[in-house]
């Protein structure tokens, strides 16, 4: 037999579940990891796109801001008047310079430059001493002088400038100059963008020179362009780099905006893998344990059935399975219990039949002997009595008396045997059992030494009469009571109860005597079997009682426990025509 076949059902199921769970886990894990990685990569890509869009948006906001400032300041009364005074009325340059410095102080711009209508610098807030420098080549100034407001990014010596230029018209509509507003794209600027976007920002010029960076560690050099996704390792951290061209007034990129986001994806994926693995293992273990417990619970009745079947197989038909369940196993247990019950009944019946058969065999045997011995004994007694009459020798007469007595004793035994073997059919008549028992008890109390023995009779109420031979039933009751008296060694109690059970009359004689073991109980109704000392009984009392009850269609049972006492129950059927008759 293979190892698998030797395993219990529970172990087989648990092994199957473990195998299934493990194989499912093993096959799911790679797919799950792939899904997680793909989802996170997509998420990261979406995040990067979002960051890029955000940075673009922030740049756009700054463009819009400087352009709005340029337009707003170009209409500022003080700027216009002071520039007009300087450019048209040869006024001092300090006046327009003060006007724009005041604006730089008051508004969120870092740079303002005014030019006259020729494009020459009048005032520059970053370089106050700068003036009369032509900006005609500056495309933004050129646009402004032609009446347009433009915004863009231009390269200055100190870095990139996010700028916008607008024309300044005086009251009569004449162009008197231009105003350029700007925000320096320096470290402060990229840190502002970093704070708003969450991404580290760097700015390079068209040559790749790093001009500004929110990452101090990136100050040394700009990262070289690479194919595919660019990854930087800065200060022990991994960054994903995105490049965004910075366009000037023309289409040529004047530099690049470096957007660097810390790449936490590998660590996140690693953590996710660990977490998922842990969860899967936990679920698998939990499933196995839970399934094991469930199977154990489910198989418990099966095991009980198995044990029950084994015990029944060994002959213990009293075995029952205590299970209150409506499922298949519960029904199986019920069926099992019914089967055990039937088996028990069958065996009991079989034992009873066997016992009855055995007693019947003994009866037939003894009846034959008794029948054969009855006449010779009667002849012997007759002859002995005749002989005695003819003999005068007193000593011989005494011997003959003894012989006659013993022969008569033999005759009594033979009668008892005939009674037991139903050679003497009962002469049935209506009988009130309570009166009979009461009479027997009285007789025994008068004739026997009942020192230390208490006899209690509890007659049943409203008992019907039975058809029975009063002499024989009296003998039965006498035998049972005497038997009980003899079972009590010093003192004790004998209880006699009568009752009705279905269509039977029950007479129960219980004593608190020495009791019997199972072997004694088994043989108690056998002829000549006695637990009394030699000469104390013939061993036919209970045998005869058994035969009488059998002859009345009833039965007699005994329950006894060594040291605690015995209980004899006589069951005599009630005739239907006497039902209800007291």
């Amino acid at each position: 037999m293979s190892l698998w076949q030797d395993l219990s059902l529970q172990k087989k199921i648990v092994l199957i579940i473990i195998a299934t769970t493990l194989s499912a886990t093993i096959s799911i894990v790679p797919a799950l990891f792939f899904t997680i990685r793909t989802a996170m990569m997509n998420q990261q890509q979406a995040y990067l796109t979002g960051v890029r869009n955000l940075v673009e948006g922030l740049l756009e906001d700054n463009h819009r801001a400087v352009m709005n400032y340029a337009v707003l300041f170009s209409r500022d009364r003080a700027v216009k008047d002071n520039l007009f005074y300087h450019t048209e009325l040869a006024g001092e340059r300090i006046h327009p310079l003060r006007a724009v410095k005041h604006l730089v102080d008051a508004f969120d711009v870092e740079f303002i430059e005014l030019t006259d209508r020729e494009g020459s610098v009048v005032a520059n807030t970053s370089e106050p001493d700068l003036f009369d420098v032509s900006r005609k080549e500056d495309p933004y100034i050129r646009d402004a002088l032609s009446g347009k407001t433009t915004t863009g990014i231009k390269r200055l010596t100190r870095g990139m400038l996010l700028t916008a230029s607008s024309p300044i018209y005086y009251d009569q509509g004449q162009l008197i100059g231009t105003i350029t507003t700007g925000i320096f794209m320096d470290d402060l600027f990229v840190k502002r963008i970093r704070n708003l976007s969450g991404a580290e920002i760097g700015i390079t010029d068209s040559e790749g020179t790093l001009l500004a960076s929110s990452l101090p560690a990136l100050k040394t050099s700009a990262p070289q362009p690479a194919q595919g996704r660019e990854v930087l390792h800065i200060s022990g951290k991994r960054y994903i780099l995105m490049r965004m061209p910075i366009k000037g007034n023309d289409t040529r990129p004047s530099g690049e905006l470096l957007i660097m986001t810390e790449d936490k994806l590998p660590e996140i994926i690693k953590n996710a893998h660990i977490t998922v693995t842990f969860i899967l293992v936990f679920i698998a273990v939990l499933s196995i344990v839970a399934t094991g417990l469930i199977i154990r619970r489910v198989l418990k009745p099966v095991q009980a059935l198995e044990m029950g079947a084994e015990r029944i197989g060994k002959g213990d038909f009293r075995q029952r399975i205590d299970m209150k369940s409506g499922d298949e196993i519960g029904k199986l247990a019920d069926a099992f219990n019914k089967m055990a019950e039937n088996l028990e009944k069958m065996r009991e019946m079989e034992e009873r039949l066997s016992h009855a058969e055995r007693l019947a065999s003994i009866g037939r045997f003894t009846a034959g002997i008794a029948h054969e011995m009855n006449n010779p004994i009667a002849n012997i007694i007759g002859l002995l009595k005749i002989t005695r009459r003819e003999i005068t020798d007193e000593s011989i007469r005494e011997d003959l008396d003894i012989a006659i007595k013993e022969a008569m004793r033999c005759g009594a035994i033979v009668r008892d045997l005939l009674l037991y073997s139903r050679q003497s059919p009962p002469h049935k008549e209506p009988l009130h059992i309570n009166s009979l028992v009461e009479e027997v008890v009285k007789t025994i109390e008068q004739s026997q030494d009942l020192t230390g023995i208490e006899i209690i009779f509890s007659p049943g109420n409203d008992l019907p009469a039975i058809y029975a031979d009063p002499v024989q039933i009296e003998q039965v009751m006498r035998n049972l009571i005497l038997n009980a008296i003899q079972a009590i060694e010093d003192k004790g109690r004998i209880t006699i109860e009568t009752s009705k059970e279905g269509m039977n009359l029950l007479i129960k004689v219980t004593d608190t005597g020495k009791g019997m073991d199972a072997e004694e109980v088994e043989k108690i109704f056998y002829p000549f079997y006695t637990t009394k000392g030699t000469g104390e009984g013939t061993g036919l009392g209970l045998t005869v009682s058994y035969g009488i009850v059998q002859a009345h269609g009833g039965e007699i049972k005994v329950k006894s426990k060594k040291g605690e006492g015995s209980c004899f129950t006589v069951k005599i059927p009630i005739s239907p025509d006497l039902e209800g008759r007291l």
Binding site: R77, F84, Y85, L89, A90, E92, H95, Q172
Partner: protein, 267 residues
């Protein structure tokens, strides 16, 4: 019943207080009057009569609007009342003469200017200080644009058309007298005309006009020519209190306050 009386007492508090409020009248209008004499006149009038004149600032247009809609009993006007307002029952009461002065930067060495020169500066005929005997520098004319829809006397005196079309192209046009004074104080080559009530500052210098100093006395004696009447406008039939206040302004006491406020007396 007692609670009912208390309730009605509370309800009538505003009505019982209203006579005290009704004792005052309001003035709103040209800031020339407001800035100079009006508060002094109000206090003097209250001291004399116990009646209050509440003074609010603003411009000529505010004065017209508040009188027309009844929010104030009196409005201040620095220009003659247009016929269209007279037709609507508004009456103008001249109360003082505004002394218009020519102001230049303190670095400007000139002390006198003629009305003709001033007119030529405004119309763009004279554009360089060299023509007036100073350095070769463009004249930065600072002009206050106001009351374009009215017959503003100074504009007329300076030969400037109502639509300013003949105003010098090199003019810095401002909205307020304060702006004008600020520019004149800052721009070395600036010149402008403003009320004397505002020009009493060390930041600018007042030039004599045709050799006459801008003083109330010279105005009274008709020696100083660049003046403009200041009016208080009322509805056709002003109330008793308003009439009383107007009489007070035109009284010697009132006119003394006027002349003491760098304005010219009307009588």
């Amino acid at each position: 019943m007692r609670y009912l009386l208390i309730f009605f007492s509370i309800l009538t508090i505003p009505f019982r207080l209203s006579p005290a409020v009704a004792e005052g009248i309001y003035y709103q209008g040209t800031h020339i009057l407001t800035y100079s004499a009006m508060n002094k006149l109000s206090k003097a009038f209250e001291k004399k009569t116990g009646l209050r004149v509440m003074v609010r600032g603003g411009g000529c247009s505010d004065g017209i609007a508040t009188v027309r809609n009844g929010r104030a009993e009196m409005g201040g006007l620095c220009c003659p009342l247009p016929q269209r307002l007279k037709d609507k029952g508004i009456v103008a009461h001249p109360v003082a003469m505004d002394i218009k002065v020519v102001v230049v930067n303190r670095e400007n060495p000139l002390k006198n200017i003629s009305l003709e020169q001033l007119r030529d500066i405004h119309t763009g005929k004279i554009t360089n200080w060299k023509e007036l005997g100073w350095k070769d520098a463009p004249i930065a004319l600072i002009y206050r644009r106001h009351c374009l829809d009215m017959d503003e006397p100074v504009r007329r005196a300076l030969g400037i058309k109502d639509d300013l079309s003949n105003l010098s192209k090199k003019t810095i046009v401002v909205r307020t007298d304060m702006e004008l004074l600020e520019y004149v104080s800052r721009f070395k080559t600036a010149v402008g005309v403003t009320s004397k009530v505002f020009a009493v500052t060390e930041d600018v210098k007042i030039l004599d006009l045709d050799g006459v100093r801008a003083t109330p006395l010279n105005v009274k004696n008709h020696l100083y020519r660049l003046t403009s009447p200041l009016y208080i406008i009322t509805k056709a039939h002003p109330g008793k209190l308003t009439k009383s206040f107007l009489r007070f302004i035109l009284s010697p006491d009132g006119q003394a306050i006027i002349t003491g406020s760098n304005l010219g007396a009307i009588r």
